[in-house]
């Protein structure tokens, strides 16, 4: 039926075009946007699955590997460096050779401040502790008696030996850069956990425990590092097991010149010694060192160490 009535109702009731227009207006006004199909790797299921798999992998790695590698662990002790000046310290380090803890092993060590040294490199801490020991009067780097510092290196287990094996080179490197360390003789000896535990049980610093094993004292007393190394024979014995970074020739000559200055000041003629010193090396230099020390003692200018010291021997 085609007529106005039908046309009017078509125009005004359920008008297809008008209703569609209104629907699409609502679509746009409500900001309804077709969601594009995501690639499979962006779907929620895939992301959840991937996250779960990664967590599982991380857990497995952390359980099986990370503990061995110490990748994220800076608090695990991988080595102990025992420093005997005297005073004596045990310096515990992590895999990066950063100091985690410092333990005073004897009463002398208790008087030295260590709290500010945590987190620093082992060589820096060792140099600082030596300086503080000198400030406390335990050593004198300017007199004619050689000062020996003993460092015992103890890896916590076999794989940590890679770290401790390089310690001698690190000390040598540090000595190159430090005028202070060049005045000292640093003896490095390798030890192990068994010796460390035995030393602890006897309440003896590990370094002294090891070097005293090289000598037999009649009364069973324990020698300090200084006492041990002041005997040339002990030094010779030590060289078979450890390494001594000895004083440089120029440094020794400088110390001898300082001592000669003291003798000049009281009118002692030191011209001959000075002339010999210019060209002296090896055994001649050691002989001059002993000669000047004796002159100082003769004129009552020697320090306690110099008075008590035995003659140095060229090895």
């Amino acid at each position: 039926m085609s007529n106005k009535l039908k046309q009017s109702i078509h125009d005004h009731a359920y008008n297809e075009t008008e209703m569609l227009r209104k629907i699409m207006n609502s679509v746009h006004s409500q900001g309804i946007v077709p969601v594009k199909k995501k690639p499979f790797y962006q779907t929620r299921f895939w992301k959840l699955g991937l996250s779960f798999a990664l967590v599982i992998i991380l857990v497995l790695i952390s359980v099986t590997q990370l503990d061995k590698l110490h990748l994220f662990d800076n608090t695990t002790i991988t080595a102990v460096y025992a420093l005997d000046i005297n005073p004596s310290f045990e310096i515990s380090v992590n895999k990066n050779d950063k100091v985690i803890s410092i333990t005073a092993i004897n009463e002398d060590a208790l008087n030295i401040e260590v709290e500010d040294l945590f987190g620093k490199s082992a060589t820096t801490v060792i140099e600082t502790l030596i300086k503080r020991a000198e400030e406390a009067g335990f050593i004198n780097t300017t007199d004619l008696v050689d000062d020996y510092i003993l460092v015992s290196v103890i890896p916590m287990n076999e794989k940590d030996k890679t770290q401790t094996n390089g310690f001698e080179e690190k000390i040598a490197e540090a000595t190159k850069d430090s005028a202070y360390l060049q005045n000292l003789n640093v003896a490095v000896i390798k030890s192990n956990l068994i010796e460390l535990r035995l030393a602890e049980s006897k309440k003896v610093p590990i370094g002294l425990y090891v070097i005293n094993g090289m000598v037999v004292e009649p009364d069973g007393t324990i020698l300090t590092a200084k006492e041990f190394f002041s005997d040339p024979e002990n030094r010779a014995t030590f060289q078979t097991k450890g390494v001594i970074k000895t004083d440089k020739v120029d440094r020794l000559k400088a110390r001898i010149l300082i001592a000669l200055g003291k003798l000049d000041a009281i009118g002692v003629d030191t011209t001959d010694i000075k002339n010999r010193l210019i060209t002296a090396k090896d055994k001649d230099l050691i002989d001059i060192q002993n000669e000047v020390r004796k002159l100082l003692n003769k004129h009552h200018l020697g320090s306690t160490s110099e008075v008590n010291a035995k003659d140095e021997v060229y090895l």
Partner: protein, 169 residues
Amino acid sequence: MKYSSNDFTAIYHATLAQVSKFVHFKVNDLEDAQELVQNVYLDFYKYICRNDKDIDNVSAYLISMAKNELSRYYKTKSEMPKIIADEDNMMLEQIPDDQNLEVEVINELSSQEIWDIIETMPALDKQILVAHYRFDMPFSDIARSLNMPGSTIRSRHHNAIETIKSKIK
């Protein structure tokens, strides 16, 4: 998105009459019925925008959406389709279906003038006119859809036409 905007438009044109007819007899007010149908298609558009799933039977899906929409509508309007008492119209039982002659007279009015008259009619008359002229439904189907006797539908239709004719000067 499984269906594009063009798919939506095609589905809309293909199903609008069916969905509208379904809603038309369940809501007394024509404006409300039209709005409800629009809401059904708006919800359908949102659905196809956010889902990639295939719809097995789009018509059935739209009808089920319309049912949900009607449930919400009844809750807010507290209204159910009214059933008019039959006895008032029993005397018009003999009125024929074919009223072409009367309708020809109405052609003298403009489309808008006719609609303005229809707008003033009772909801049931309007519902019958729209069903008959918009959805091309015979009176018997309209009667079945409204759960009324066919005579009632015919008499209401006759009255509606007479009302329009009476407005012609």
